[in-house]
Symmetry: D2
Subunit: 362 residues, 4 copies
């Protein structure tokens, strides 16, 4: 249950309007600009506290007097003359309040604060994962009750999480997917040739294995697109197939290590970010599996909260699954502090989630 | 299928008997002593090639002319006057043949040898695990068909693998267990107080959590032993309970980080090794989960092969489950090269094994 | 010392010319196309064995009869009508020979092949690193004797390897640098504000720390470029400064997690790959530090060998420094099998290299 | 600077004496017993607040009215009739005060508390290590100014930290060493045969390498002890040699994975703990390198503070060096929350410490 700040607090009442300065040029900010965070934020404009649209961290608050809209804009999207907030404190005293205690009560319950305790590290393979709570979140965000965005790396495909991901897409547990060229390539490779990076499903190598992912790319190129390959009846299983036939939006963000790439891969990092953000602004739950690059990229553009259809504000459930604590902590260290870490193997996580959710929707 | 060396090979026919020298004192070896390996080994004595009893690595081959027995003895057990093999080559030419190609054919099948290939690293979280093959091994060694020895660390107890381990003991998949004081303590703690190291099952902390494991130890001490606590009806669930009521042998090997310790914990490292070895000499399958210390200790005393009841020689299936490749590779680097690595979280591994084996024995 | 294949071998003499087929469209390959590897490769054209230009893996061999050139082209650069090699064997029998034994002798020296040995894992934090050999390689490729390309991640900047990198650039040990936007940003942040990601050099946080990297970007944007900031006398230390004043080429490859980005960052993954490849085709030694993404990306486009000014063929020394074995093994698993792994902290590696090389050039 | 609790606080003045109950039997505690922590602790006895002798965690406070001594005793050392504290709160209200704010001011300085910040994870390979502060601590505890206890694992020996450790012992930076059998064995192996676990110093394997560590053990056994081998002029370098000739106390704690063991190795885990504790009760600085088992064992018996010769109370500097954050966090999760983590390779850490300390004492 979200708790608003107390706007009757005299300090907030007395606070001035937020100061805005025009951007001196396209993609250049005025001195003293404010950088946004992923917490709920209130900005005083015209004597009224309002929340900016499209919240995210590492961006900038732009006020448009004409439309009376307050928008969170990335650096690269700022235009000459845009009115950018230039306030250095976050306690409301200069017209910007970063509110990190809206969900505080819920956090407190799970926390015993003693001078001496074992197992105080937040993310550890040695801590039990509350899978029941996790499955409840999946159920609560299924179908039209939420918007679950998956962010996945290629290990999920290599290590046989592919079947589980396919099942989740078909059963209402995936409303959007963000990944890279490699997942698309190896998923198609698995569908066409039964290997990923030349490995068979039992982990052994196939003869000539180093060429099969290139052949997969070429088949897509010959067809013209993944969708065309599906329409021709040649791609009949896997993640890309499931996304295509269920019309689930996805982004393949390009990177410097891409082979091919596939026609669907967005080569420009900036255009890929735009496409990714269209998914993150409507998400209610995010599950990141086995990818540092995409998890941190998505974490950067992900608020800690969302506005539910009924207008209420709720936390975005953010799960980060990785083989090591390092990636989870790195994600947190890049500002996505709200992420709940599950330190395990992608394959086993996906298999467990499929088995246990199948049980719950039977 | 094990393939014996070809003893008609002229070089083996021509080889002299193995040379033995008396140990100059208790726990002192003659110069030039041979160190054993975990491979099948043949020693020429009286013109005949024979395999030593109780094979393991880092030990010594002792010939007793009186009883006509050839035994693999640990350094610490060698007595003054024991006749110790003193041969430096392993190719048979001096009477000792280390035979590492008895199971070679089986290895070759899974291996494509190309000049250039992806995914050539042996142990990687990114490789699919052939779980079907793993479950087949469990089924083939279940009940009186084999002897499955588990080697586990405390993470398995903290992270809720405890219920799965209990189930495995009750269902014929555990014929012996090797672990340390901590597993005993935290398992009893979980049974009596619902926490492990003060953590509740959902990962949150309990008030006063840093004392509960000490209380668990004290309850055992007051009763006199774990078995007494079971007999009094006070310990009614968990791993130690299951081992006790099914009469499954176990070893709690002492270490310098033990609290308490429990009465069942063997404080002497040397006596603990003796007890552990009684389990390893009859094992047909070993599963090591989430422990470097115990895995390497057991690996040291574990041959790569066993003699089946019908006298045939078979490989010992050796599975090592850990969160990182490092522990698996370290185990291999200490000589347990035959270990198959499963790089995952102990909790998820145990849960999956339970779910899928339950399906198979239903 | 490189050893050529024996072209008088009757099988090679009898081999037919390599078969080429035209690409059916831009960025579409003919069926049966060959994928290249990073080993020395010989292709029979017009009865003569020749090596393709610009060798790398995962690319395609294109023969241009007009210019009589044989070029290794990436998938995305193949044009309609390009004559692409379509041969499936690599043993020379169809006109393509992948030669992985040119440097075999050197490998053999360091390798004892016994049935049973400890420490057989190739990459391990527990193995001693032959730093003396490493320093000899640095000295042998210094200045105009070679071309050392560095591939680095932001941890190197955060963790105070920055001063060492600066020193290496100024002292002839860096002929090119490949990295991403973050290294540029945090290096400028450190120069202007004394923090990286808001951390001070002693690891503690600075007030308002989450905005300083954005301020660094804005200062570059206001100046117009990193070079302009240097020319204005405002950027006076660090990696980007050293690269600029020594005129050392560098590539900042864009990615989906970039803030800003800096004007020098190449947003298109494909254009970034082109720029990176111009560095990799002339390298004689590569040092990758603390980056999975860039290391694998560079590894993909890196042959195992180079042609020295005198026409001789030599191995490219490829060093991969990372905190975990995983990244080194992943790099190898993606085909860069020749990488020598140094499993350590980036900060300490850089500091040691600086201290010991400074000693050698004093 | 240590700050005592304010004993004039009315709640502390009003607090009753601590309650003590007799132990019902040897190594059995009275119900409701108190478990100690590693923080400074005050116990009210006879109306006076006093600190127990020999503080450590996971132990018990025993009051001896005859000698008027209050001692921290391990579970296993408690005798029938010992008067054991039985108090459940730690805020002083029942006569026991756990005081975790004695050094609080020093902690605060390094900490910026903001709602949103990057790099908030405590232990990370990505954070700069304040080596200057570390070297200052070494200098401040050198020679007769302090007592530096090292706790090391075998990776330090394999990976060439051996020369640095030897240097530190000879130069006043090591007043005690805690390790296991393996370090002793491989250090002697290196001195006698130039290998560790059969690896040569450049990381390559030696022929017959799997037997050399057994030969090292046998040479010690033949001599009778490590000291005898030194006295005979046969052991002339390395860690064990340096410890012996400088008369520096050490403990080789036995474990279930020991080969041999060496005569100096204490096979009983309980006796080894006793010997280790004699070192930890007088330490002023602890450096743990590359060992989980020994670090946690020592951490368990290590208070966070010591009493300086002048009677003042000071923090014990506790450094934990490991290749991964996991071991540092595990150590903290087992209660050694005060440990400062250095996430790096043992070899490089030791080499850097030697180079930079040599500079400072020149």
């Amino acid at each position: 249950m979200y708790r608003e700040p107390d706007f009757s607090d005299p300090r907030l009442v007395a606070a001035p309007d937020c100061r805005f300065e025009p951007a001196p040029a396209d993609t250049v900010l005025p001195d003293g600009f404010t950088s946004s965070t992923n917490h709920p934020t209130y900005v005083k404009v015209g004597g009224r506290w309002r929340m900016p649209e499209r919240p995210r961290m590492d961006s900038h608050l732009v006020w448009d007097p004409a439309s009376e809209r307050l928008i969170t804009k990335e650096f690269r999207l700022v235009k000459k003359g845009d009115l950018v907030a230039t306030v250095s404190t976050e306690d409301g005293s200069q017209g910007i309040l970063v509110w990190d205690r809206g969900f505080a009560a819920e956090v407190d319950e799970t926390h015993v604060d003693e001078a001496f305790a074992f197992m105080a590290t937040e993310v550890s393979r040695e801590k039990p994962v509350n899978y029941d709570a996790l499955f409840r979140e999946f159920m609560a965000n299924r179908g039209d009750q939420g918007c679950i965005v998956w962010v996945i790396g290629p290990a999920l495909v290599h290590a046989r999480g592919r079947v589980a991901m396919e099942w989740l897409i078909h059963n209402g547990f995936c409303h959007g997917l963000i990944t890279g060229n490699a997942v698309g390539v190896h998923d198609v490779e698995a569908a066409l040739y039964g290997t990923t990076l030349g490995m068979k499903a039992d982990g052994s190598g196939a003869a000539g294995g180093h060429t099969t992912h290139m052949r997969a790319i070429n088949e897509v190129k010959k067809a013209g697109s993944i969708k065309a390959l599906v329409d021709q009846g040649r791609l009949t299983s896997g993640i890309m197939h499931a996304l295509t036939v269920t019309d689930t939006p996805y982004v393949l963000g390009g990177s410097i290590r891409d082979d091919g790439p596939l026609p669907e891969t967005i080569a420009s990092a900036l255009e890929a970010q735009d496409a990714m953000r269209e998914l993150t602004v409507r998400t209610t739950m995010v599950v990141m599996v086995a990818t540092a690059l995409h998890s941190i990229a998505v974490g950067n553009m992900l608020p800690t909260f969302c506005t539910r259809p009924d207008g209420s504000i709720a936390e975005i459930t953010t799960i980060c699954v990785d083989q090591t604590e390092f990636v989870v902590n790195k994600l947190k260290d890049r500002g996505t502090h709200q992420a709940f870490g599950v330190v395990t193997n992608a394959q086993d996580f996906m298999r467990l989630v499929q088995l246990e959710l199948a049980d719950r929707i039977r």
